[in-house]
């Protein structure tokens, strides 16, 4: 791999990752938690209506998972591109 293209590749991989995770973030919170709350409430998790559960519990768990997943993937990206501090 030619040396000059590497920072650009690194940045592109980072951007792709961020874009994907932000789509997931918006899809869960604004999509499933708000826009689709009524239809999702017809399903249940345990005894909690699903739309309600996502809006008040599930979305927050997902936010935490998204941030840790991003940090973990960036560790691998840093290692693959030999970027350290």
């Amino acid at each position: 791999m030619a040396e000059p293209t590497r920072p650009a590749d690194y940045w592109r991989a980072n951007e792709t990752l961020i874009r994907g995770l932000l789509v997931l973030w918006a899809g869960i919170s604004l999509g499933a938690g708000i826009l689709l709350a009524e239809p999702l409430n017809r399903f249940h998790l345990g005894s909690a209506p699903l739309g309600f559960w996502i809006a008040q519990q599930g979305s927050i768990f997902c936010f935490v998972a998204i941030i840790f997943y991003y940090a973990w993937r960036m560790d691998r990206l840093d290692r693959d591109f030999g970027i350290g501090e």
Binding site: P49, F52, W53, Q56
Partner: protein, 481 residues
């Protein structure tokens, strides 16, 4: 307030004095051991805070008196629509972790206006950013000092002004001595106090009402939501879990989104990511911060449901005599936060959706403050809740004061007025500015200007509209000059 104090058994009061005093001495001791002598330590804690510790400090910084005392109560009355606060005040961390924190940490420097001024090559932009940071933080901090005063008056019978002064002295001590370093390590301790104080009564209440001690599990895997929905309908309310009953769909969507973006743009939260040793630590630190915040933010909606169910079953349809046989009812009735009036003279109290016929009035703040008594816990748990409320208010106040100090002492004084200032002089100005800000905050806490309540909401809007786009564009736009 004063009648309530007379109702308190001496034990609760003694426990509260004990807990508050002990935690205050812990904060003071940490502040003393973390004192600093150079600006790098004072403004960004020498960039030596481990990511988990920074996560805990960020969580304490972020969760204010309002999150601790009022949020569960607000959700309890909003039902599904309470999700605006839950998603709005947590979702912003995803934006922060993915779009801002690692890059601002990489840039280094001391403050958020530093980045703005350098990135946009403009000292006008730097000053504007500093002014926005000061404005946002001042409106916020006034509410925190007020919170300190209220906890003091409610639990200890000290008048609000004296409570505010005690709070100012404590914050002033560790913030002036230790700057960011002192504030950070104190916030770690304050996080431990506030989360314990929130979780202990919530676990006990979950155990009592559902037989499952973990509130998050009890919410989904017991019959409590089904029962609550049925009760609500019987009393003429809407089902608790039904969306958009208090706010329209568009309102819920827009408020949630603006709280998310505002959260990511608040300077006192962003600056916390300058204190970690590396870019990698900044990424993980955001995760730890949200995990620690989520412990409270996923418990609060469960607590909201338990409390609502409990209030409906204990109070509704009973005679005034039956209701007052509960000790906690008597206690909170004397504070005026809970009140009854048998409007139709049928001898029974009815909680109804119709405001004119409703005979039971409940203040939001009771939901959290009364849980220990409602769950039948020992008096020391009530004292723990008081210490937790104070920890939440003081930790947020400290973080905000530091932003005000760094914006004036570093961005305006050093970068603009006197660039030749020596290290010693800059540090001296930094400490002085904390004292000035503390004075203003204390004054607003004792005599809150009428506009504060509206302006706090405005602070979120301003953060969402100023810092978030400014920083995001500064980081991501490849081709600007």
């Amino acid at each position: 307030m004063s009648q309530y104090i007379q109702q308190l058994t001496p034990t609760v009061e003694t426990w509260t004095y004990l807990f508050v005093t002990v935690t205050f001495f812990v904060y003071l001791a940490i502040g003393w051991s973390a004192r600093v002598r150079e600006t790098r330590g004072f403004f960004i804690a020498g960039q030596g805070i481990p990511s988990i510790a920074n996560g805990a400090a960020t969580a304490a910084d972020w969760m204010s008196a309002a999150s601790f005392i009022s949020m569960a109560g607000m959700i309890s009355f909003l039902g599904y629509d309470g999700a605006i606060y839950l998603m709005g005040w947590t979702g912003g961390y995803v934006l922060l972790a993915l779009l801002l924190a690692p890059y601002l940490r990489k840039f280094g420097k001391y403050t958020v206006p530093d980045f703005v001024g350098d990135r946009y090559y403009s000292s006008t932009a730097r000053v504007m950013a500093a002014l926005a940071a000061i404005f946002i933080s001042l409106t916020y901090v006034a509410g925190q000092m007020r919170g300190v005063g209220i906890v003091f008056s409610r639990f200890l019978g000290v008048d609000i002004a004296s409570g505010v002064v005690v709070g100012m002295l404590i914050v002033g001590f560790f913030a002036v001595l230790g700057g960011m370093k002192g504030i950070t390590w104190t916030q770690v301790a304050q996080y431990v106090v506030l989360i314990t104080a929130f979780l202990v009564p919530a676990f006990a209440l979950a155990w009592r009402l559902t037989g499952n001690p973990v509130p998050q599990l009890a919410l989904a895997f017991s019959d409590i939501l089904t029962d609550l929905n049925r009760l609500q309908v019987e009393l003429g309310f809407n089902e608790y879990t039904r969306p958009f009953m208090n706010k329209t769909r568009l309102d819920v969507l827009c408020i949630t989104l603006s709280l998310m973006v505002g959260t990511a743009g608040l300077p006192h939260v962003i600056v916390r990511f300058y204190t970690v040793p590396s870019v990698r630590a900044a990424r993980y630190s955001a995760g730890w911060a949200l995990l620690f915040i989520a412990l409270l933010y996923t418990t609060a909606p469960a607590l909201a449901v338990f409390a609502r169910y409990n209030l409906l079953t204990t109070l509704n349809g009973k005679t005034a005599l039956e209701v007052r046989s509960h000790e906690w009812v008597q206690k909170w009735e004397t504070t005026g936060l809970l009140s009854f009036e048998d409007k139709n003279d049928d001898g029974r109290l009815s909680l109804l959706s119709d405001k004119d016929a409703n005979e039971i009035t409940i203040d939001n703040d009771i939901i959290v403050l009364s849980t220990p008594e409602v769950a039948g816990l020992a008096p020391w748990v009530t004292a723990l809740v008081a210490a937790g409320g104070l920890a939440a208010a003081l930790s947020t106040a400290a973080g905000l004061l530091l932003v005000i100090s760094s914006s004036t002492a570093h961005d305006i004084y050093y970068r603009l007025i006197n660039p030749k200032a020596s290290e010693e002089r800059r540090l001296w100005v930094g400490r002085l500015m904390i004292l000035v800000a503390l004075g203003v905050a204390g004054y607003c806490g004792v005599k809150p200007p009428g506009f504060v309540a509206q302006v706090v909401a405005f602070a979120f809007g301003l953060a969402a509209a100023s810092f978030f786009p400014l920083l995001h564009l500064g980081i991501s736009a490849c081709c600007s000059p």
